[in-house]
């Protein structure tokens, strides 16, 4: 077990592409740190630099009190689980799991003990003499895990290890993985593009975009207090509603109503570069059906009425999509066209340019497709963002 410290870790390829730009991260002993972000954000490159499979262009990588920039992968004592498992197809499960221990020149008895122990933990004992081709996807994934576990390394590095599994198995393995990591208490860096995996597995989550670290924090922190538009848009499913707003007199004009300026919003606007326009964010679960009692119906807050264009019944709840009566594209406000927004890694913002709003409503809501609905929200739930820097302006210190 050990601590990993990344100081300004940078990767620039020969063709000039900057894949990771000055990544600073401290990963505590036994911590499970999730690197999350869209495809091409540099998370896998960062992991490969930690593994030693990718040369570090600039910055420092520390494992406990040793700088390991120049150390070969085999000397770093880390184990990696690959997206496609990378099991040696010509070896049995037992040989796959023993390979690393043989390289470490452990005694045969010790190798057999560790393999048997890991196989028991992962429910692989009866498959030890099979080859990977004879195993199911879930079993292969467990062998890949087993190969890492038996080494008892200082850190686990996992590169989207669940992405090749079907949805049901992925959920099952996610729980399994969390249990094993918790039991072993090994420092883990886990890369995923799936924000649900990030939210459920991580002690802390580092959100990356375009090679740049956007925010690090606990899953709840990222969800409740996203530092910028990108994090707000990336974390949460369905994604946060991002709407353009402008200050008029003593209120904030938004496409879903007029929000009176209270002290919190006034402070937020005071921090804006320009007061003429901001972006407000509202989570889908913070839009409430005004017709419902027991959910704060007919209470305070701002109400508005809109037509439901699409209604998705999710089993435990509804996702109701509403067309906005008027809207200005958020990306446009930030001075970006759609392509620029996507390239800048704020594609969740670009996605929300459609002028659509989504609300998560309970099953007892009387919402109907292609019917009107009155929704209500508490202005205290609003996040306010600067459209130019993307920075969150509300509650900066919380």
């Amino acid at each position: 077990m050990s601590e990993l410290t990344l100081k300004g870790l940078t990767k620039r390829y020969d063709d000039g592409t900057l894949a990771v730009d000055g990544l600073d991260l401290e990963i505590g002993d036994g911590e499970m740190m999730i690197l999350v972000g869209p495809s091409g954000c540099g998370k896998t490159t960062a992991l490969r630099m930690i593994a030693g499979l990718e040369e570090i262009t600039d910055g420092e990588l520390w494992l406990d009190d040793q700088m390991v920039n120049e150390l070969a992968p085999k000397s770093r004592d880390m184990a990696m689980v690959f997206q496609n498992y990378a099991l040696y197809p010509h070896m049995t499960v037992r040989q796959n799991m023993s390979f690393g221990l043989e390289q470490a020149k452990l005694e045969k008895g010790e190798i057999a003990r560790r393999v048997a122990e890991a196989a028991a933990t992962l429910d692989l004992t009866e498959h030890l003499d099979r080859k990977p081709a004879q195993l199911s996807g879930g079993q292969r994934q467990r062998v890949a895990m087993g190969r890492a576990i038996v080494r008892e390394p200082k850190a686990f590095l996992m590169d989207e290890p669940l992405s090749n599994l079907d949805a049901k198995l992925r959920t099952q393995m996610r729980t399994e993985l969390a249990r094993i990591q918790g039991d072993l208490g090994t420092t883990t860096v886990y890369v995923t593009h799936d924000q649900i995996e990030a939210m459920t597995l991580g002690d802390r989550v580092a959100v990356m975009s375009a090679g740049v670290l956007q925010q690090v924090g606990s899953p709840q922190e990222l969800y409740a207090r996203p530092e910028n538009l990108f994090v707000a848009g990336f974390m949460g499913s369905p994604a946060i509603n991002l709407l353009p707003a402008r200050v008029e007199g003593e209120s904030l004009q938004t496409p879903i109503g007029e929000v009176p300026l209270d002290g919190r919003l006034r402070d937020a606007l005071g921090r804006a570069e320009r007061r003429d326009g901001v972006v407000v964010g509202l989570r889908p679960e913070h839009l409430l059906d005004d017709g419902l009692n027991g959910h704060g119906g007919n209470g305070g807050g701002v109400t508005f009425t809109g037509d439901v264009t699409v209604l998705e019944a999710m089993g435990a709840e509804y996702y109701a999509y509403l067309e906005l009566p008027e809207h200005t594209a958020v990306g446009e406000m930030a001075g970006m066209d759609r392509t620029t927004a996507a390239e800048a890694g704020v594609d969740p913002v670009a996605r929300r340019d459609s002028g659509q709003l989504v609300a998560r409503l309970p099953l007892d809501s009387r919402v109907r497709e292609r019917g009107p609905i009155t929704l209500r929200f508490d202005p205290a739930r609003l996040h306010v963002f600067d459209p130019h820097s993307g920075r969150r302006l509300t509650d900066p210190d919380r």
Binding site: A51, L53, M80, F82, G100, Q103, R151
Partner: protein, 289 residues
């Protein structure tokens, strides 16, 4: 099968268009014709080899064998050191094959997996070697081995035949097709580059190893020019060179020539029978013929 199922399957066959029903038979016919075309010279060689020499020049030529005789084969055995030549050919072909597979696979692996300065230039230079006809190298090679007094040794027969740009190319392409994560996983597991090559990459390249081995073995076994130049002592000759010396320069020797050719090719037939599957896979996989 129930009556209904039989009826439905018969109906299914009937409903197939005529072209689909006839096509497989046409293909089979063409394949048989081509096989006979390829087989005819081999059968003719056997036919000639078991005839008496005067019968081989009768006009018109005929498949009929008036007097079955194996005298051509016995001449090959009695008038020569054929046993020794077989051993020489086997030793040389095996050594060349083993050395070629080892060196070419290592070179192919390094070119596929390592990144180093001048890599493309080096690979280009190796590939350029394909374009140099082996005959052009004969005189310099001969003079080199002559200078080091290496002629009429196994080294002279083996070493110049080992470097094979085509084999390097085949192995590089094969390793390029292997997922790099396998190597990376092995490196994370603590393996050195050598272990990655030996324990992971090479065992997964069996079809490339088989293809290169078979082609190299056959090529070396059949090679005439270099062994002819480098082995002037009869006991050091290989089969193609040695059998050439059995045939006298004058008189009718058709049966003897054919018997020698059959004896020379016989081990390759054995190789083919045992390695049929790998040869087919090798041809399909590497595009070599």
């Amino acid at each position: 099968m129930s009556a209904a199922a039989v009826r439905s399957s018969t109906a299914g066959r009937r409903s197939r268009p005529l072209s689909q029903r006839v096509f497989p038979h046409v293909i089979t016919g063409v394949m048989i014709a081509l096989a006979l075309l390829w087989l005819a010279p081999v059968l003719w060689a056997i036919d000639t080899a078991v005839k008496a020499e005067p019968d081989t020049i009768k006009i018109p030529a005929t498949w009929a064998i008036p007097h079955l005789t194996f005298s051509a084969f016995s001449t090959d055995f009695s008038a020569s050191d054929i046993g020794r030549w077989y051993i020489n050919s086997a030793i040389v072909s095996l050594l060349v094959t083993v050395f070629t597979v080892i060196t070419a696979s290592m070179a192919g692996y390094a070119l596929s997996r390592q990144r180093f300065r001048g890599q493309n230039l080096l690979y280009g230079a190796i590939l350029a070697g394909i374009m140099i006809p082996p005959q052009a190298l004969m005189v310099p090679l001969f003079r080199e081995f002559q200078a080091i007094h290496g002629l009429n040794t196994y080294w002279a027969l083996v070493l110049p035949q080992v470097p094979s740009p085509v084999a390097v190319f085949i192995f590089k392409k094969f390793f390029d097709g292997q997922p790099p994560e396998l190597d990376q996983a092995a490196r994370m597991d603590g393996a050195s580059w050598w272990t990655c090559y030996r324990r992971i990459a090479l065992p997964l390249s069996r079809s490339a190893v088989a293809a290169v081995s078979i082609f190299t073995f056959v090529w070396t076994w059949n090679n005439f020019l270099w062994p002819f130049l480098s082995s002037t002592n009869t006991p050091m000759m290989t089969i193609p060179v040695g059998l050439g010396t059995v045939i006298p320069g004058e008189g009718i020797t058709n049966a003897l020539v054919m018997a020698s050719a059959i004896l020379g090719a016989l081990p390759l037939v054995v190789v083919f029978l045992f390695g049929q599957r790998q040869i087919v896979e090798g041809v399909a996989g590497t595009g070599l013929k």
